[in-house]
Symmetry: C2
Subunit: 454 residues, 2 copies
């Protein structure tokens, strides 16, 4: 197969995508609140012709299990709200895209539609929305709820939320604003279509008080891997974000997403699957392996041990470098996590410490260590083996691991024809990703099988 | 009295603060969606050493009375969401402040606290929040409500909302983040203080997932002029925004605010009263008067007549250049507006057209036309007569009326020592306004009469 460029994003997680990244001697521990550093990352990402920067997000200090003590080890508690930082970085760049996670569980469609439309105008069509439903109890308690809504309810709300947002973006047709000074008419009232939505979760009369976004709809990404998550993603998303740890599982996920998209009449080529990847790059394999081990060793037991509790019980007092006790019986609440954990624990030479380091370090993402060429090999293998359409690159610490991407990995991919060396398209993120601009709903053909996003 | 500089803001209202501003031949009718123009306005405002840019806001196409037909004359329906544009403009400036209106009626305190904290970090301490409670039925219907909450309920919610937001900003003490690589402790858990708020309108556990804002608290502005509005403003605000049409009323308002602040133990000098002013500047008085008349004549009857309906009935069919019919009996809902309208209507030579032009043109703000020197005289008279601490300058159309401010009015004020020629303070908006940084609530002295904002 002739080489073709993959889609590449830069996914910055607080002070580094590895939980202990900030503790490396060379790391800037307060990177997440250093705007000059963010500016440099965006500028270098644009020079490297990456398609976009991407942000996970939560409206809380989120944790699955850590004790109160463990909180103090969390470097991900001091971060910016992504829509505000996107405004700032958009002003300093010309072609790079920006995709922010925004929850449908603790927001209102009007605010989300409006902020994204506004950013899409400010950036001249370079923003995207990663639709998330929130997973933490901590977020619920910041918004007047005693507990997180059940999974099914969150996804039902998300489905309706996205439909209201796209209807709000279609409040005005593209050519609605005539601004006719002679007659005084600012817009053509026939081209105004307030959604007038009255649904199960939302009642939104509209219209949105802003012209249709530059991209028609900003790019929509989605990251749910559950059944309802995949159903939502394949229906509404341009990009599917996923955490996949091995190629076979990634390829199966890829096939499932593409098949599901085709089954509802969408063009599978227009649903881009982009897993996260956490590359640890060294000048030699030895150096990369040492860096990886150094990072893993920096994960404190207080952060790691609570993650094993639901599956192995309280391990305090046991030798951390000794074997794991037998797993507890499966609990319903954590079914898939439990099974994966028990499988991992059965690996040769696995100790308590190693297991919690694996769990706490990269939050389920694909960690690869080696030379830039080694990492490029693995990415090429996934890409050409139809396990993905590209990757979200996650620097393990800042800024060094990001520099390794810009200085070594991306040039290596470019040499192989696997990364673009110039931006394609019309200047918008949609154009750069090769995705067409969605026409206004009044001008969409009703041909069967037509892609609603095209 | 020796001249001292007044506080000056630039209040940009969509495509111009005058309803018909966009219709002038020299106006850029789509100014509100032109980011290069916004960049130029911010850059020039900074060169002119203005303290801040200021945005009104509503999450709807808001109107008090206009007919469906009149909607098409509204140029204020196609605007950006201010928090997103602040992010962008903050990245392009160094000293200028940015104050956005954000409603407490249709938002959640956690989101508002977080976005403002984030922007305060990105801008290095240059943002502010204008607390508004929303006045339009249209906004209510965009957020699942059949009607706007009653005034008293909106203000009760606003009081609690602001208290939750400041508590969230105090989630971490200023020196909570130790980022100790050796021990792995990212912050000192003793310096974490989640609000744990459980009140009448909100339950917010916290903490906020971001370090304390650079300014401690971003600047808080407030614009309510009702009893509850003044009570809220004098309790929580650094800046009181107000629309005042004549000096005597402005001076009475100023005295009332300062007295009310003093009565609750705040330093009245730390509650800045800044009315909006809409200057129409010409090279000569004649030219300025002609410009003003041209603007007024461009207000279409469809936009203006509905504003008279509640007080004078349906005026369709009457001669617009003839006298007004007798006013209808006072209605409870519109008491103060009705009385003001009837007073205005009694002025000599007042016609139907003139009255609706006055009402629709400047939305109750002080319009002054004349040479730059004339306008500076009026501003100096208000300022030295203790009717204000400064002004929010509102360009009637864009960009010309803004250029008149930068090229003529501000230099004239600077020559008189009434406008600063360099920024004061530590680089923050709070510093530039001469207002102290509020200490964390755990370190605030409990001396009686202490200003909570100081």
């Amino acid at each position: 197969m002739a080489a073709r460029p993959m889609k590449l994003g830069l996914n910055i997680v607080a002070n580094g995508a590895h939980a202990a990244g900030w503790r490396l001697p060379e790391a800037k521990a307060d990177a997440a609140l250093d705007f000059e550093l963010w500016t440099m990352l965006a500028t270098r990402a644009e020079t490297a012709c990456l398609h976009f920067m991407f942000w996970a997000d939560g409206a809380a200090i989120r944790h699955n299990a850590p004790s109160q003590e463990a909180l103090a080890y969390l470097a991900r508690i001091d971060v910016w709200e992504p829509l505000t930082v996107i405004g700032a970085l958009a002003a300093l760049t010309k072609r790079l895209g920006f995709i922010a996670s925004v929850s449908t569980t603790f927001n209102e469609p009007y605010h989300v539609a409006r902020k994204l439309a506004s950013l899409d105008h400010i950036s001249k069509g370079r923003v995207g929305w990663n639709v998330v439903t929130s997973w933490s109890e901590q977020e619920a308690r910041n918004f007047g709820r005693a507990a997180l809504m059940p999974h099914a309810q969150r996804y039902a709300r998300a489905e309706e939320f996205v439909d209201v947002v796209t209807a709000l973006w279609d409040s005005f047709e593209d050519d609605a604003f005539i601004r006719d000074k002679a007659s005084g008419r600012y817009f053509d009232a026939d081209k105004l279509h307030p959604p007038g939505h009255a649904g199960r979760h939302f009642a939104v009369e509209g219209p949105l008080n802003i012209a249709r976004p530059v991209q028609g709809y900003p790019i929509i990404a989605q990251a749910g891997s559950s059944g309802p998550g995949q159903a939502l993603g394949t229906r509404i998303a341009d990009i599917i974000y996923t955490a996949q740890k091995d190629k076979a599982a990634a390829a199966a996920f890829y096939r499932a997403i593409k098949a599901q998209a085709a089954s509802i009449g969408r063009d599978p080529a227009r649903v881009l699957v982009m897993p996260g990847i956490l590359p640890i790059i060294g000048a030699t394999r030895r150096q990369a392996a040492d860096r990886f081990e150094a990072l893993q060793e920096l994960v404190p037991p207080a952060l790691g041990l609570p993650l094993l509790k639901a599956s192995f019980g309280d391990l305090a007092g046991l030798d951390l470098d000794g074997p794991l006790p037998p797993p507890l019986p499966e609990s319903n609440a954590l079914k898939s996590e439990h099974a994966a954990l028990v499988r991992l624990a059965a690996a040769e030479g696995m100790t308590i410490r190693k297991l919690y380091q694996i769990l706490a370090g990269a939050s389920g993402h694909y960690i690869v260590h080696g030379t830039a060429s080694d990492v490029a090999d693995r990415m090429q293998d996934w890409f050409e083996g139809e396990a993905c359409d590209g990757f979200n690159l996650m620097p393990a610490w800042l800024p060094g691991a990001a520099f390794d991407l810009f200085d070594q990995l991306v040039p290596e991919l470019q040499r192989r024809g696997l990364a673009q060396t110039a931006y394609a398209g019309d200047g918008t993120l949609r154009g750069s990703l090769g995705l067409p601009r969605p026409p206004h709903r009044r001008h969409r053909s009703s041909a069967p099988g037509e892609d609603r996003n095209a």
